[in-house]
């Protein structure tokens, strides 16, 4: 009788854990991706990335399947392009993406789009991206240059869908099985804890590492894992987490570390306009300056203004400085009678102004 009750109790726990495992699986969202988009955008923070887990329709997205931590770099590389990085955590394999590049009328240039999972990556060439854009909504005036695609966004919901290739979307059976086993173990652990705390708050593990619990008149022994195995599982979890973290943040590529101590290791973080201003500052020995037109628009909204403030420091932005930097095609600065052009570096002209 005792044996039957003991087995029944264990069976109930196993069944409950099996029922709970899918919930745990959904909770830990094991399928993770990093999406990288290199593009030119006036306000990259407006961009949003949604994802689909539908196998039948990879272009179908739900409003809450949006990637948190969308981090546009807000800084441009030497070609004037920004990089947007979005991390996605999903409970099922991600089958497609929806990119909302802008929520108003805008002109956008895309250079590259890639999707990285832990062990694989998918890069889309410009023809593929062009085909995605053609089927998008709120997108017009699409034109292709050498390696880039330019288009205009219209309205507040411009978007295009990107179905992902199988090497990204289809996890191996081994990977899927691992995640279900992990979820089942977590569920079982939670149930055991619950059982211990509710039914046996005073019980202690016996010499065999089993937990004695009294149910009715029967005393059963629940098998528990030893501390060593638990520690080992914890280390495995941390190891997997770190591998995933490294894989999705730097793509397992630490080759740039050797350049960390280079004094000019800045090329990816600063807009080209600020580089050009820096060259002029060094050449003319300028200590204060003002940015004209859209370069200095607003106090904290213009990316060039922000990067110029911190990157050019200790050269300061001062409202009434005689030195004015303007875009080379800025007619307003060029026609001001009190300002005379003093120097030029690529797309930036330096003016000396009287007022």
């Amino acid at each position: 009788m005792i044996r039957i009750k003991r087995n029944l109790s264990l069976l109930v726990l196993i069944l409950l854990a099996s029922a709970l495992a899918p919930v745990v699986h959904d909770l830990i969202k094991p399928y993770r991706l990093r999406v990288e988009l290199t593009f030119r955008h006036e306000s990259p923070t407006d961009s949003e990335v949604y994802f689909s887990t539908s196998r039948k329709n990879p272009t179908y997205v739900r409003s809450h399947d949006v990637a948190p931590f969308v981090t546009p770099t807000e800084d441009r590389n030497a070609n004037g392009l920004s990089r947007l990085v979005a991390y996605i955590a999903a409970r099922k394999p991600v089958t497609g993406l929806r990119l909302d590049p802008s929520n108003n009328n805008n002109q956008i240039t895309i250079e590259s789009l890639s999707v990285h999972s832990l062990f694989s990556e998918g890069k889309f060439n410009s023809k593929e991206i062009e085909s995605f854009l053609k089927t998008g909504e709120g997108i017009s005036n699409l034109r292709a240059t050498d390696t880039r695609l330019q288009f205009d966004t219209i309205g507040n919901d411009a978007h295009f869908s990107v179905p992902l290739p199988p090497e990204i979307t289809i996890p191996t059976r081994f990977e899927a099985a691992i995640w279900y086993v992990v979820s089942w173990l977590i569920a079982m652990g939670m149930l055991l804890l619950l059982k211990i705390s509710v039914f046996a708050p005073h019980a202690k593990l016996n010499n065999n590492g089993a937990l004695p619990i009294r149910i009715g008149k029967a005393r059963i022994y629940l098998p528990t894992i030893s501390a060593r195995i638990y520690n080992l599982l914890g280390i495995c979890l941390l190891g997997y987490t770190m591998v995933q973290f490294i894989g999705l943040t730097v793509g397992m590529d630490f080759s740039h570390v050797q350049k960390a101590f280079d004094k000019d290791r800045i090329s990816e973080a600063i807009p080209p306009e600020v580089f050009w201003i820096k060259a002029l500052v060094n050449r003319q020995g300028i200590e204060t300056f003002v940015l004209a037109g859209d370069l200095g628009r607003g106090e904290d909204e213009s990316m060039v203004f922000q990067r110029a403030t911190e990157y050019l420091y200790p050269t300061k932005v001062v409202a009434h400085s005689k030195w004015v930097f303007a875009r080379a095609d800025d007619q307003e600065s060029a026609t001001r009678p009190d300002c005379k052009p003093r120097d030029r570096q690529e797309g930036i002209t330096l003016y000396a102004c009287e007022k």
Partner: protein, 412 residues
Amino acid sequence: MRAKNSIDPPLLAGLIFTALNLLNLVAWAFGHHVSIGFYLLTFGLTLIYGIWTRRAKLLIVCLVLVIFMLITLNDPLTGWDARSIWFFHGKRIFLHHSLYAPLDGYAPWTHNDYPILVPALAASVAATVGYWNEVVPRSAEVLALAPALFFGAHAFRSVGNFCVWLSLLVYVCWGEILGGYMDSLIAIHFSLAVLALAEIYRVKNQHPDADQPDTTPRWGLVLSISLLNLLLLKNEGLALSAIVVVCALPLLLKDFKLLAMSALPFVVFAGIWKIPVLHAKVSTDLIEQGGQLQRGLQRLNSAGDLGLIYDSFNQFSHWFAIALVCLTAYAILKRRQLAYLLPSIAAILAYAVVLIAVYLTTFHELAWHLSTSADRVLLTVNLAIGTLVLYALAEILNQARHSPYWGKPTPA
């Protein structure tokens, strides 16, 4: 949580790193800095000690720090606030050889009143290598993270629990932890503070005859250092510290030592940073704008605004909120054993209320403010909940392990 009363090596390592951070701030106040060599020496000694004595948790922390360091040295900073606020302040401290360089009134949009623990560390990294570039000062993030990880190693007794906590930390803080923002550091220190709070309550409430040493002093130390870090990391830290202290008040009023340990961080923070900031008449834009009450009342009456806040909180903290509800219900049901969790739960809930109040009264457009900050500020709530749940589970098992009913039938 610990059986012996001797100092735990991870706790000692955390204390030394904290002391170096504090010394660095004081040194910059006088135009000097602590060389990064001292940090490397501490790290090296910790690593050697960990290998020598085979202490898994020390080795795990060292390994994680090395990985984080390599990641930070791999790429320049790109985050908006990271560049425009935190590391810009670091650059100014480095170039002007003064902790108070940001208080000169230049570029007020960079929030010159923000605390300077990490900027001062970044300045020290630059001072050690002799120049400022866009990559090396980033390693200040890892130096700031080091004491928190060592304190975490002290807090979780088993290697398994510590590894689960570290995994939780990485998963929760994912895109932010090495992004040059302070939110992850705030989240970790707040989590440690609520954990210390729970542990002190547990020890204080245990039976006087219980065969366990009084670990209040060392947990008081963890609490005190967590408060200090919260205060010196970001302005939100002041609200978080005040919440923790209020939740600890019943304890503090009975224990003068604990009261002193909790008050000291505020004194240090005021002396090193807040008083000079007030003297320089630099304040935050959130307070400067005024009209908070009126805006708050307007938004409270707007279903759309409340819905926006709810959607954001639901999006980023859905499962954590459910976990907190379960934990709270369980702690109330089993209050004889788990009442010590309730002050920590209250602290987390209080901070969530503060966040809601901030969004209700913000002078920014609400949708914009939520979309640019909710994911970051809710890290604090999420990680604190996860940490407390893990701690509670560990304690429940611990109670089972230390029961006197060894091999005997369970009492009815």
